[in-house]
Subunit: 221 residues, 2 copies
DNA sequence: TTTTGCATTTTTGAATGCAAAATTTGGAAT
DNA sequence: ATTCCAAATTTTGCATTCAAAAATGCAAAA
């Protein structure tokens, strides 16, 4: 198994919440499970620590990183900046085909909204944001975005989605698609920022309780 | 020696250009020099690879990362976004004392400009930008900024600084300080973006020739 | 019953050793 | 002289091993 693959698999374990935030990472167990020895495992853990997903305590092992409210706020702030930048760049560089693909994804997402399928809605939502970042054509930006969103998602916050908020989010997405189609970079940046600011407010207001055995289910309040 | 220290020392070696971009990283030599064995060294190299300073080639060792023009462009673009964000946040959060400190640093930098001391000027310049990022009060942002600027600086580009360009850069810095003092976040963001865009154009135009034994001296054309 | 000090066990962090892969070297054939 | 191929050497990647640090458990004392 290649180094990058080891990193990827542990990252997945963390993102899936299989090892909850704050929990110790059992080296021996992971070694057995991944069928590797401690050396490559530890190399991977150090990389993930640099990414912010793992916390290394000298001589006291590693833990799955636990985010504070402040961390969460900071991450959202950066994410806003990255998405706004991506939106501006995307408007300069996106192809018609890419716009069409996003429009299709948008329509599918709206259908999930109408169906009341929150999980599929979130999935589609994410795909759209990622498509915009990809369309920006900047791998450095894409890398940072992936890393930051992973850390946010890692904090398995569960905001109770209200019908009003949901409806509003969909409206915002209409505006996002519209700005993209008009290739209005500045406008898109503004909308994306506002969109994320709202999301952040919801999340922080809900307290995104990062508890050990926290439940993962998406709720509709 | 602690893990973080090993990473730091190797990073310094790379940033100093002691191992030039594209050159192989001699594991054995570095081990002897840092007086550590290969295990911790390799852990550090993997972390630096995740940061983008080192390139790992499976079964073929590691090299100091070499940036293409595209990489450089991407890094500058992201840097612009990060600084703009930092500027906006800084205007919301900066204290009077911090503004005073930056004003002092600015004055010192202008004096270096008048003295024609390019090295000191660059040093002061960097300090100001870093102070703005710090004033944003967002460690996540600060971390990304550090990492991105390190990679840019790593590409020891040497733009021949012309008197006109230098004078213009100083003018821009006056505007930066002014916007900060007025706490005009949007304005500051714009200025910072333009400032970096100009810098990028200079660098890319100069070709930032990333040659093995490239000279490190700062020039005034 | 709770707390403190010490011995034991476990776990971490690093060095060494070994097998596999790649590079280099040397020689032969064209 | 050049090119191609095979052997030798070097280097990589990982498993194992070893020393040190921290956690645990237990007994004795308050």
């Amino acid at each position: 198994m290649l180094h990058e693959e080891v990193v990827g698999r542990i990252r997945a374990i963390l993102l899936d919440g299989e090892i909850p935030p704050g929990a110790r990472i059992p080296e021996r167990e992971l070694c057995e499970r991944l069928e590797i020895s401690r050396t490559p495992l530890r190399e991977a853990l150090k990389v993930l620590a640099a990414e912010g997903l793992v916390q290394l305590l000298p001589h006291r092992g590693s833990r799955a990183a636990k985010l504070t409210d402040k961390d969460m706020r900071d991450l959202f702030e950066v994410c806003q900046g990255l998405e706004a930048l991506a939106g501006e760049l995307a408007c300069e560089r996106i192809t018609d085909a890419e716009i069409d693909a996003i429009a299709t994804a948008h329509a599918a997402m709206v259908q999930h909204y109408r169906d009341g399928d929150l999980i599929q809605y979130y999935r589609g939502n994410r795909a759209i944001h990622e498509a915009i970042v990809t369309a920006a054509g900047n791998p450095v930006l894409a890398g940072l975005y992936t890393s930051v969103t992973a850390r946010i998602r890692r904090a398995r916050y569960v905001t109770p989605m209200t019908p009003q908020r949901w409806a509003f989010a969909v409206k915002e997405h209409e505006a996002i698609l519209n700005a993209l189609q008009r290739r209005d970079g500045v406008g898109l940046a503004h909308i994306l920022r506002a969109h994320l600011r709202h999301k952040r407010e919801e999340v922080l207001q809900a307290g995104f309780a990062e508890t050990e055995g926290g439940d993962l289910t998406l709720r509709i309040a």
